[in-house]
Amino acid sequence: MKNTKIILRAAIAAVLCAVALAHGAQAKVYTADEIADAIRGILAYELSQNGYDSVQSWLDSGTVSEWYAIGLRQSGEKLDFSKYGEALKEIYQMSGARSPALSQKYALALIFAGRGEDEEISRIAGETIGAQGIISYIFGLHLITNGAQPENHNAESVISEILALQLADGGWALSGAASDVDITAMAIQALAPYYGQNIDVKAAVDRALGLLSERQLEDGGFASLGSPNAESAAQVIVALSSLGVDIQQDERFVKGTNTAIDGLLKYRRHDGSFAHAEGGEYNQSATSQAYYSLVAYLRCLGGRTPLYVLDDEDAPLSPGVLPGQEEAEKGADTTNPDTADISDTDLPDASDEHGASGKGGYKIWVILGIVSAAAIVISLFWLTGRRNPKNFIFIIALATAACVIVSFVEIRAPEEYYTGAPKTKENAIGSVALIIRCDVLVGVATDEHIPADGVILPETEFLISEGDTVYDVLIEAARAYGIHTDTRGTNYIAGIANIYELDYGDLSGWTYLVNGESPSVGCGEYVLKSGDKIEWVYTLALGDDIR
């Protein structure tokens, strides 16, 4: 009984802490209803300005901009995109000069109009990726994420191109060495679906988020090219929402009492449209970007896919975002008017959110398995009458030890470990050459696994970062080219390519040379400099036969 009370008290304390943390920021939190109101205001304004009485008729006319079309599609409302799709194709075919950006925007809109099967899309992706710098990679990646299969690129290659363009401060820019908030946010939007799967992407995005957090202004908004504006805030909202991070709750993006939503809504005009600069006039791109960024944010609150990842779900966002829906919504919502409460209770942190689904996600399941196994054993002990508390302490200690081991040991599937391509390193300080050979065995041993020419890896260049050792480069080569290695710690290599020390006599084994010299330190301690040439050589006589 006493124990139960203590546990109960601890649980209550933990919940209180969590609640206190959640409310610690004390910023004004816009509810989902308020966001939906703003979205409806934008659509109502656009409809009245363009002279349509419903969103469907506006869509059918084909004059809707691609951005509105994507936002409308992702709002999950029951809208018919078939006419829009046809109109889109027609307009595209009539257009004369087609820049890569225009083609990509068209292809993306086509996907969201429900024509993702068109062969045209993969063709456009193939022609345009890389044709116009960073932007063409970003939108190319959106196309690939949504199923485009260009001949010359895949998701990995485009991701590595984007990562290679990341600047030293963690952001991206159209040109120059100073990062731009908009481009950085757009790059994050493209990388977001790969955040949980690729450790390089995760690192790059985390750095970029750090930069964006730094660049956030006191009013919660963002500036591009030195001037605060609505579009920058909108892009950051889309980026964070794509990562599944509630931008009103993440403390990195709460400045004083302001969030990026404040930073965007301050540009909202009395008629529902948005201005580019504070107090300015209606601006088309500011309004459309505000529109889809708020849709993206509602998708994030509802746990849906990122804005630029088409989901098959047809369920409308809650609350509804088409003009004229507010009355019906309000009528139904009287029981639970404050939908933002939902976002209060779960505070998604970027790393947690994605750690579960991607790389290393198995660990959570293994730990859950261990915990449930421990629970089963405990209940068996309880049921069989062995209720001495020491039994339970022992089982819990055992389960904890198992969980600790599981969380420290990194287990990867072979496909995941053997990447097939060398890592791209944005902070490379140069390159080194690596050779792995066992030519002393040619003609000596007849085993099938020994290459006929004695060369396991011909001379290959590898990028190195600051502090990389001979060991690091060997492991990178092993991962990139699927070479078997057996390492004992970081200083001792027992076998490469299934050829082991002591396999061919008591003095046989692997040794390494750098620039033809045999260093007197372990391979995990030899720090490389650019231009070094590493040779891993199999020796039959403690290294005397290879110099």
């Binding site: 001495n388 022992f394 990194e410 599937a413 072979p414 696994h449 492991i475 057996d486 299934n498």
Partner: protein
């Protein structure tokens, strides 16, 4: 026909030597499996096994098998990568083969120690080296002695209320205490035994031993059979190079000589179980005629 344990100690000793040497020298899944099943069949037929023992043996087999791939990373079929080292299918299979081989040897020796009484050992080695025979018989006596004494100490501890058996932690601590007691007891017992033997005049004169085991024709016939089977299995393996390759890729030996080795060893391995069954059938048959 007699049970294996009724034969001359020489025959019995050479049988156990032959049956354990083959799978330990030639590591091979088929040989390990034959050795394990032959040993287990004999073990069960002799009524030695309790169900609990088999749980322990099964756990031991699994643990030994799974530890190998954690330390051996050779092999071309990568199951997954732990840290930077591959965990391979080949190493896992080798682990299972090696652990069933070890387990089979444990089972053979557990039966061997029951069959080879100290009297038989003295007969076997008494003439060659009386000292060796004495040491062997004392060493073999020591294993059951140790376990009886451990049980006694444990019971005494329980009666004294030093540990309750109702929880795991106290169980382990109690077990450790009993083990500690046993270590000092073993040292003390060794000295006492030595003193006691010296007091009785051991080591003063030349030792002799007496036994009435006769080497009969049946012994010779069985010994010949054992040596033939062993010679066939080991000879073919060595001369024709029948060996099972585990690393880096699994490659079974050529099937024809391998079949010869396996069938010879199968006969050798199931010999005691077959004698046991035969004897049992004959006994039942004779009983039915009364």
């Amino acid at each position: 026909m007699k049970r294996l344990e009724d034969y001359n100690p020489t025959t019995i000793f050479l049988y156990f030597l032959a049956v354990t040497v083959v799978p330990t020298v030639f590591v091979d899944p088929a040989l390990a499996a034959l050795s394990l099943s032959g040993a287990a069949a004999y073990y069960i037929l002799r009524g030695q096994g309790r169900l609990r023992d088999f749980y322990v043996y099964g756990g031991l087999l699994l643990a030994m098998a799974l530890i190998n791939p954690l330390f051996r990373h050779n092999g071309v079929t990568v199951l997954f990568v732990m840290g930077n080292n591959p965990i391979t299918l080949e190493a896992t299979i080798y682990g299972f083969v090696a652990s069933s081989m070890i387990l089979s040897v444990i089972l053979w020796f557990s039966t061997f120690s029951r069959i080879m009484t100290s009297e038989k050992l003295l007969y076997l080695f008494g003439r060659v080296s009386p000292k060796l025979a004495l040491i062997l018989s004392m060493a073999l006596r020591y294993i059951p002695l140790f376990s009886t004494q451990a049980k006694r100490v444990g019971d005494a501890q329980k009666v004294l209320g030093l540990y309750k058996e109702d929880n795991i932690i106290d169980d382990i601590r109690g077990g450790a205490r009993v083990f500690g007691v046993m270590v000092s007891w073993a040292l003390e017992n060794g000295i006492i035994t030595a003193d006691s033997m010296a007091a009785r005049g051991y080591g003063i004169g030349r030792r002799s031993s007496f036994a009435i085991y006769k080497f009969t024709r049946a012994d010779a016939a069985l010994l010949l059979m054992i040596l033939t089977l062993f010679g066939a299995a080991a000879g073919v393996s060595v001369l024709l190079g029948v060996s099972f390759t585990f690393y880096p890729a699994i490659k079974p030996p050529p099937s024809l000589p391998a079949a010869a080795v396996y069938s010879a060893y199968a006969l050798l391995s199931f010999l005691p179980a077959a004698l046991e069954v035969w004897e049992c059938v004959k006994w039942k048959y004779l009983l039915s005629k009364i």
